[in-house]
Amino acid sequence: MFIDFFYSLRNAGIQVSPTSFLTLQKALNMGLINSLDEFYTSARAILVKSERYFDVYDQIFAHRFEGAELPEYQGFEIDDISRAILDEWLKDPQTLAQALDVDEAELLQLTPDELIQYFRERLNDQKGRHHGGATWIGTGGSSPVGHSGDHPGAMRVGGVSRNQSAVKLALERRYKDYTRRGLLTQDMVGEALKRLRNMIPVGPEDKVDIDKTIYQTMKNCGEIEIVFSKSFKDRLKVILAIDNGGWSMDPYIPVVQTLFDYARDQFKDLKTCYFHNSVYDVLWEDPARANKPIPVEHLAAFDPQTRLILVGDASMAPYELMAADGSIHVEERSGKPSIEQLKFLAQTFPHSVWMNPASSQMWDYTPTITTIRQIFPMFELSLDGLEEAVRHLMAK
């Protein structure tokens, strides 16, 4: 039963396992599911394991059980925009007609479907706002806007005829928000960095060491001797170097700030320093990069077990990386190209990563990113990227 449904979920990218599909069959056979409503909720609980897919599930469900249209793959973003325009249009046809430079009377003749189609074509012409992507957002003809009595044409509302409430729920698409990726909050960073630690015994000896206690007691012929030991605390040394200069880093300030806040809370032994674009002769301890320079050579004196995390978009003109006088700041030019300094850092600290806030899909388009990736393992500054980076930093 419902094998088509199963495959359409899988085709839509939801990881539905055959086992969970069999579980659903079991539930059906046990007579637990007696209405479409119950089928909607139970099948979702059993088959779909993340709220990120709830929206896709809603769409497939509406399609399978009510014949609502599935969105076209390319059409989704435009759909959202055109729907927004349609909403505006219903509120105030005149202004919008003017804004789009069309005749209001002409638009009034169109049915809502035609209207959406019309807006869509107009938006397609206007390439500027179309970004494209790979997930589904937006349904084609299932917009509920038709409820507004404003418009002379009548709209087919979401293809619902027999109107079961489950389908209504599915068409409402309440979970749309969860499909988008949220900001990287401090909690999420904390989650990802939790495993980045190095446990060392510190503090007072206040923990009972059972093995030693038993050993000592036996040695004392059964006279109990309780042995205490120190508890383990995290003493990981971290150097966090942040690219805080230049407009190219501006869009990423909030996410870097989050990382920085967390690092300051979490790591007892943290050194934060700053650079612009790439590392030249010095790193700076002050964010203004003016007063407290640390020559890169001095870092050789640090514990080589220190974890070095560089954060930056690694995007610059190639000569800034390669040329001996590449720095755009004259006072930082010593004759060693930045790429040599980076190699020196990578050798000094075997556990190092470069976190890049730019999306990894864009990395191949920037030559300096490719170059730096050969020196430092590079990870995207996102939840998944952080986790991979931590795994790399903690590898022996």
Binding site: Q15, S17, T19, S20, T23, K26, A27, M30, L32, I33, D37, E38, T41, S42, R44, A45, I46, V48, K49, S50, E51, R52, F54, R174, Y175, Y178, G182, T185, Q186, D187, M188, E191, A192, K194, R195, V208, I210, T213, I214, T217, G222, E223, I224, I226, L383, D384, E387
Partner: protein
């Protein structure tokens, strides 16, 4: 037993408002004997659900609060070596030193297995533990048995507990883990639901106050850039604060005069942002 579960359907408890969707998920999950994984914003009542199920089905509730340092064996059982050592030295207890079983104490999961009655086992905030813990634990819950190595004995569950697992994490749990659970995401309650929830907590609340409080609550939740949005728990505390203030006038609320913002916003940048935003709306 089976028929008993089916008849014994969960339909809400005295202090918990349940929507139909969640009720049917809970019932299907109980009948399928699978753990139910609940996700959702803090304050949407994930933990409360387990309490409510236990209450309405009159089963004892066993809570396992997961910590990052928790090892699976601690959740199953504990071998109290120190007490045994002590007893062997002084021998003044009723326990039999030569019998290791006397020194095995059941952990939370162990308790839910050995209980004579069917229990509700709440595993709270599973995301705090690492992935290995999660997968290993699911093995135990799948098999409904575990071994006590020290006495070479297998503990089997007398009654399969009703297992509720909660997670706050934005990231997904591992695939094998998810494969063995049913999943539900509790969305933040809409205003209508919220009024019901408030009604349960404050049966004698003035309708005027309720209206204004709910309106304002959803308005302040909309304030941009807030990291921790106030949730149901904050709202209930806030109402409690408002009710205990004799000078408080519900009408002042809609005008944008909001006292005790600190109850709603607990992070200082959030608080400042909220004060700023409400002052602005006040001027308008």
């Amino acid at each position: 037993m089976e028929g008993n579960i089916l008849n014994n359907k969960f339909s809400g408890a005295t202090r918990y408002i349940l929507d139909n969707e969640l009720a049917s998920i809970v019932n299907v999950t109980m009948a399928l004997e699978m753990p139910l994984l609940l996700k959702g914003e803090p304050g949407t009542g994930k933990t409360m659900l387990a309490h409510a199920i236990a209450e309405s089905l009159t089963m004892p509730l066993i809570v396992l609060n997961v910590k990052s340092s928790l090892k699976l064996v601690d959740a199953l059982y504990q071998y109290d070596t120190l007490t045994r050592l002590n007893d062997s030295r002084f021998g003044d207890s009723h326990r039999d030193v030569s019998n290791i079983e006397d020194y095995i104490k059941m952990g939370k999961i162990g308790q839910s297995f050995t209980s004579k009655q069917r229990t509700v086992l709440l595993i709270d905030e599973i995301d705090k533990a690492d992935t290995d813990f999660q997968d290993d634990m699911l093995d135990v819950l799948d098999q409904m048995e575990f071994d006590i190595i020290e006495v070479d004995k297998t503990m089997k569950a007398v009654h399969r507990p009703v297992i509720i697992i909660t997670s706050n994490a934005k990231k997904d749990l591992s695939d094998p883990f998810l494969g063995r659970c049913n999943f539900h995401h509790i969305a933040f309650p809409d205003p209508k639901m919220m009024r019901k929830i408030i009604g349960v907590h404050f049966p004698d609340i003035d309708s005027n106050l309720m209206e204004n409080v709910v309106t304002m609550f959803y308005r302040v939740r909309e304030i941009d850039g807030v990291e921790k949005k106030p949730a149901t728990r904050e709202l209930i505390n806030w109402i409690r604060a408002l009710k205990s203030d004799p000078d408080f006038n519900p009408k002042a609320l809609i005008k944008g005069d909001i006292p005790y913002l600190g109850v709603l916003f607990k992070k200082s940048p959030d608080y400042e942002r909220a004060v700023e935003a409400t002052r602005r709306s006040h001027v308008i």
